[in-house]
């Protein structure tokens, strides 16, 4: 095949392989199961669809939340852009360049897509304000020099045709240089003419991404140039900052002379952690929203830790949850996660009553029968009459039970948070008040929230009359707001709260209300906040404590490379690594790396080579090749510090007397050394300083273990 030869050919910088859709793609689209012993043929495909659906639902919810988080900032930024150049302070000596800084570290970068979308298509019918603005994006990579920066900005606008038609070609001989701001000015004039926009209401918005990565000198020059062209050129800059609003990066970095040209407006986001907690809470602990898959405490822990320690981006959070979904649907049983996953009962039977689905049925049967879905009395006899239908209906029962259980848990958890919040508002001291919302979530999912709500309920019992009234109202209102099915399920606690509410209205003493209320709530929490793992077949809808595959998101390539060098045998299948003496089977690069680890900061390449030769020759002798002449063994090749005649003679002996084989061996060793050395160099272990002749510097000082 030509593709094969092309791919092997290293002289090609790129190889193109055309789309080959002759083969049937659908049959092999699904990856093989990780658990073939209890899976069936179509399972992968079905799980794949279920996963897409479940994740889609979760993603939609989270995007709505993120969107609503962005909304106020987007609104005010758009408003600010509109107001720029019209809403100016009177009496300024010169016009100021409007700059809007948005602190966006905590949020996903799609914020700027949103802003640019709003700016470009803002059609306010009411005021006939149909002039859309022009937006261009600038990334730090393009802005290493002032010429490059200006070129990016100018061409970002000018590449659009002023009349909205086809792209126009500019001849270099007749047009201004691409970095010349006068070109932009000319373009803007023609845009306004084309649009009959006499008041020049279109703004030229430049969004500068990762503003901290830009060279301050370049930015300074750029602002200088731009500010000399306003207001003829209504430029507005939006800076995407990752650093916190105070201390301000802009004010700390740029001199006053430059800041005087700008009119900076800050739009910070709410603290990152708070929005993370909110999103988690609103997605997985909202009584009105039911995610298909409940996320377990390990995933929540990982997501929170990753967010706080590595990258506080909501995009990262989405990726983590998506991976959690994908991992969850690796489990064969998860195919039953959506209702009627296998279609109607007839279809389901057809799918499952094939020989290759028997392992799956077996596993399902075992799980159903060891669960509490079937009463022990039935258990003894029912297995004989089990059909696919009855199995699936058991699963349906379990699904409903799990759903309800999770829902009630969510409601109870939200009440705990509410109570906690009320207590904090009233100035009560809460033990363990350093626990964050995700911490509490994990405890609730594990059913270990006892100490928290126990403490809260004991505080309820001691509430003074003034606060009690407020508290009871809060709890009462809370239950008013829960969905109908929850109300039906929780009628006991609701009627009790109702009683307390009525007693309050009748003016009963605080002691009489708070005591029982505390007990009732405690009872209620105890009943509802239980580990989800106790539900039958829980692992179909709940990721539980399965570890999150963190190395997909947060890997350690460095540790992996070191491990590969130091313990290559760990990567090889056990059968292949036969000998006891590990040193005998080390690849060349590992041998060289051993020397690297033992050496000091600088390595003399010749010494390294010598030790490599000694090692290889020792190994060669051990292997039993007796044909090595005495003179060629390692000790005589190692140069002694005193360079004497004797040494020289020995060397000559080797050179002169060694046979063809010996010469070949030395050349081979040298070639292997060079190859291994260059491989280490390629991996970045070596720095050529040139300070000493043929010495290299170590770059890694990790210890071997």
């Amino acid at each position: 095949m030509t593709v094969d030869t092309d791919l092997e050919d290293i002289n090609q910088t790129t190889v193109y392989i055309p789309f080959n859709d002759s083969d049937d793609v659908d049959t092999d689209a699904a990856p093989p199961s990780l658990f073939p012993e209890r899976d069936f043929h179509q399972g992968c495909q079905l799980r794949f669809q279920a996963c897409t659906a479940a994740w889609g639902k979760c993603l939609k919810r989270m995007q709505e939340l993120i969107h609503s988080l962005h909304m106020p900032v987007v609104e005010s930024v758009v408003e600010q852009v509109k107001k720029s150049y019209t809403d100016e302070l009177p009496g300024l000596p010169y016009p100021e360049l409007p700059v809007i800084s948005v602190t966006s570290s905590s949020t996903s970068s799609s914020l700027f897509d949103e802003i640019s979308f709003r700016l470009e298509e803002s059609t306010d019918e009411l005021f006939e304000d149909t002039n859309d603005h022009f937006v261009t994006h600038v990334f730090p990579n393009d802005c290493t020099t002032i010429t490059g920066t200006m070129k990016t900005i100018v061409s970002g606008f000018v590449s659009r045709s002023p009349t909205g038609g086809q792209d126009i070609k500019r001849k270099p001989s007749t047009s201004l240089a691409a970095y010349n701001i006068a070109l932009l000015e000319a373009w803007y004039r023609s845009v306004c003419d084309a649009r009959d926009d006499l008041h020049h209401r279109s703004r030229l918005v430049v969004i500068m991404h990762d503003f901290e990565q830009l060279e301050p000198q370049v930015v300074q020059d750029m602002f200088e140039i731009c500010s000399s062209h306003i207001p003829r050129l209504p430029l507005v800059f939006i800076l995407a900052l990752a650093s916190p609003p105070s201390p301000s990066y802009i004010r700390a970095t740029y001199p006053h002379t430059m800041l005087a040209l700008l009119r900076v407006r800050d739009y910070p986001f709410p603290p990152a952690e708070k929005s993370l907690h909110n999103i988690l809470l609103e997605t997985f602990f909202d009584p009105t929203f039911e995610p298909e898959i409940m996320i377990g405490p390990t995933t929540i822990d990982f997501a929170v830790e990753f967010f706080t320690r590595h990258s506080s981006s909501l995009g990262g959070l989405l990726s983590i949850l998506q991976l959690a979904h994908m991992k969850h649907f690796e489990e064969p049983l998860s195919v039953l996660a959506p209702a009627q996953a296998l279609g109607r009962s007839n279809d389901a039977a057809k799918v499952l009553l094939t020989p290759d689905a028997f392992p799956f049925l077996d596993a399902l049967f075992a799980r159903v029968h060891e669960s509490t879905l079937i009463t022990p009395v039935e258990h003894a006899t029912s297995w004989r009459s089990t059909t696919v239908d009855s199995l699936l209906s058991s699963v349906e029962t379990a699904r409903d039970a799990f759903r309800m259980r999770a829902k009630l848990l969510r409601v109870a958890f939200r009440l705990v948070l509410r109570v906690r919040q009320v207590m904090l508002v009233h100035g009560h001291k809460i033990v363990q008040d350093d626990q964050t919302v995700p911490d509490l979530m994990c405890l609730a999912l594990r059913g270990r929230l006892g100490s928290v709500y126990g403490h809260l309920c004991s505080m309820v019992r001691k509430l003074p009359a003034a606060q009690l009234e407020d508290f009871v109202r809060v709890v009462h209102d809370f239950f008013e707001g829960v969905p109908e099915d929850v109300k039906a399920e929780e009628d006991e606690v609701i009627s009790r709260v109702e009683t307390a509410y009525k007693m309050l209205g009748r003016g009963a003493s605080a002691q009489d209300i708070s005591g029982p209320l505390g007990n009732w709530l405690s009872e209620y929490f105890k009943l509802r906040i239980v580990a989800l793992e106790d539900a039958p077949l829980w692992d179909i809808w709940y990721t539980g404590s399965t570890p999150f595959p963190s190395e997909l998101i947060n890997p350690s390539p460095r540790a992996s490379i070191l491990a590969g060098l130091i313990h290559p045998q760990d990567y090889v299948s056990p059968g292949q690594w036969s000998r006891d003496d590990e040193d005998d089977d080390l690849p060349d690069i590992s041998i060289l790396f051993k020397g690297y680890l033992e050496s000091a900061k600088m390595i003399n390449v010749y010494d390294w080579f010598e030790s490599f030769v000694v090692f290889l020759e020792a190994r060669k002798r051990r292997v039993g090749n007796t044909r090595i002449p005495d003179g060629a063994n390692g000790t005589s090749r190692t140069p002694s510090r005193k360079k004497g005649k004797r040494k020289q003679v020995e060397d000559e002996v080797v050179d002169e007397d060694a046979g063809e084989d010996e010469e070949g061996w030395l050349v081979e060793v040298q070639a292997r050394f060079i190859r291994a050395l260059q491989e280490l160099d390629y991996l970045g272990f070596i720095k050529h300083t040139g300070r000493k002749a043929d010495h290299v510097m170590r770059t890694v000082f990790d210890s071997p273990e």
Binding site: L7, V572, F701
Partner: protein, 412 residues
């Protein structure tokens, strides 16, 4: 998800390793000496004087010619142990699924990943168009990649030049566009390419599988680029202007030698694989040691007189080398350096005149010119004297004698 054998053991965070190790120390006193964090090791090494021998590798060891090198490595495959890490190609489908889910994949770990990624490229060619980029190639450019992508039907517009990144990103953003799989070998070798890819990587129809080799390669990517996701969370049908990678990391330790990645490295120099050198070498064809075959080619093309002159110089050099072995102990620390067996220009001129090769200075210079241009004869000012020139052939003794033997054989 899928992860290779052993990755669980070692994929834990480096920081985390330290933490557990330090924890162990505090528990058991005996272990304190056995563990040293890397920064401690660095300062220990930096504070002490480096003791190395004064031997210089490039002087003591004659570099091998590419032919010798390749022949030696072919022989070495018998002795050298090259471990095979088991690989199951069923991972391909898993990776393809991850690409479908909107992630891009980055492979790390020791060993050349080129073979496996090429197989993967063939695998995904059933799902869409594939472009494989050899980023380890010293002369790879962003334009090459774009030109290759332009071969996908429909991408190339009327103009003949390679399309811009924006044009490509726009093309693949539309929902009816085909899928493009971009396979990049050793992405970390070309930061420019990595930057260019960052503006394509978030396009919903472009899927990227790349490998990195360098220890510090993750520094190429900023935190915000790593966290960026495909598909705007604001609306899915609009192309995002963002840059980023959306990597999923996979440990793909193969332990395979980096043969193809190092093809462009200069095998005769210890710094031949470092990136700065590799770039220079491609522009400088006469680098590297003179080979026998190269010399034969040059000699076949010159006049008989010039050939005679060469063998004269060679014979003299061999003679010098033979005698120096016994008598000149001073040069013994540097036995192979051919400059020590050189010949002054004046001496050569006398010899050449005696042998009726060149009767005047101009003729001799003309004859030598051809050899000098091809690096067959090297000249330098004689140390210690002013203006006097010395000449020698930069070939080791055995090769030179073999060459002279061939030359004489042809002549007779």
């Amino acid at each position: 998800m899928d992860s290779d054998e052993g990755s669980e053991l070692y994929a834990s965070d480096v920081e985390h390793n330290y933490a557990t190790n330090i924890f162990k120390e505090s528990e058991t006193d005996g272990l304190i000496d056995s563990y040293k964090p890397s920064f401690d090791a660095y300062f220990t090494h930096a504070s002490s004087r480096t003791r190395t021998s004064t031997n210089v590798f490039s002087q003591r060891v004659v570099p091998l010619s590419p032919e010798e090198h390749n022949a030696a490595l072919a022989r070495a495959s018998v002795h050298a142990y090259t471990p095979q890490v088991p690989f199951d190609s069923s991972s391909f489908k898993r990776w393809a699924r991850e690409l479908d889910e909107g992630f891009n994949i980055l492979f790390y770990g020791l060993g050349s990943k080129r073979g496996i990624l090429n197989d993967f490229a063939k695998h995904v060619s059933r799902r869409g168009h594939v472009t494989v980029v050899n980023a380890f190639h010293p002369s790879v450019t962003v334009r090459d990649m774009l030109a290759s992508i332009a071969r996908v039907p429909g991408v190339q517009s009327t103009s003949t030049s390679a399309p811009t990144q924006e044009r490509i990103a726009e093309h693949f953003a539309s929902s009816d566009s085909p899928h493009l799989f971009l396979i990049v070998h050793s992405l970390d070798r070309s930061p420019k390419l990595a930057r260019a890819i960052s503006s394509l990587a978030l396009s919903p129809h472009i899927h990227i599988a790349a490998s990195i080799d360098r220890l510090n390669a993750p520094l190429l990517f900023s935190a915000s680029q790593l966290a960026a996701r495909k598909g705007s969370s604001f609306s899915s049908d609009r192309a995002t202007k963002n840059v980023g990678y959306s990597w999923l990391w996979h440990d793909l330790t193969t332990l395979a030698p980096y043969t193809s990645e190092l093809t462009f490295a200069d095998r005769s120099s210890i710094s031949g694989a470092s990136s700065s050198r590799a770039r220079v070498d491609i522009t400088n064809p006469v680098s590297g040691p003179l080979t026998e075959t190269a010399a034969m080619h040059v000699l076949a093309a010159v006049t008989a007189k010039a050939k005679k002159l060469f063998s004269l110089l060679a014979a003299k050099q061999l003679e010098n080398a033979d005698s120096s072995d016994i008598s000149e102990v001073n040069s013994a620390h540097n036995p192979h350096d051919q400059q020590h067996f050189d010949m002054s220009y004046d001496a050569l001129f006398t010899l050449a005149r005696d042998a009726f090769i060149a009767t005047n200075d101009t003729a001799l210079r003309a004859l030598l010119g051809e050899f000098r241009d091809h690096g067959l004869v090297v000249s330098a000012a004689q140390p210690g004297t002013s203006g006097s020139e010395v000449l020698w052939i930069p070939l080791r003794k055995e090769r030179l004698s073999k060459l002279v033997g061939n030359l004489d054989g042809d002549a007779t």
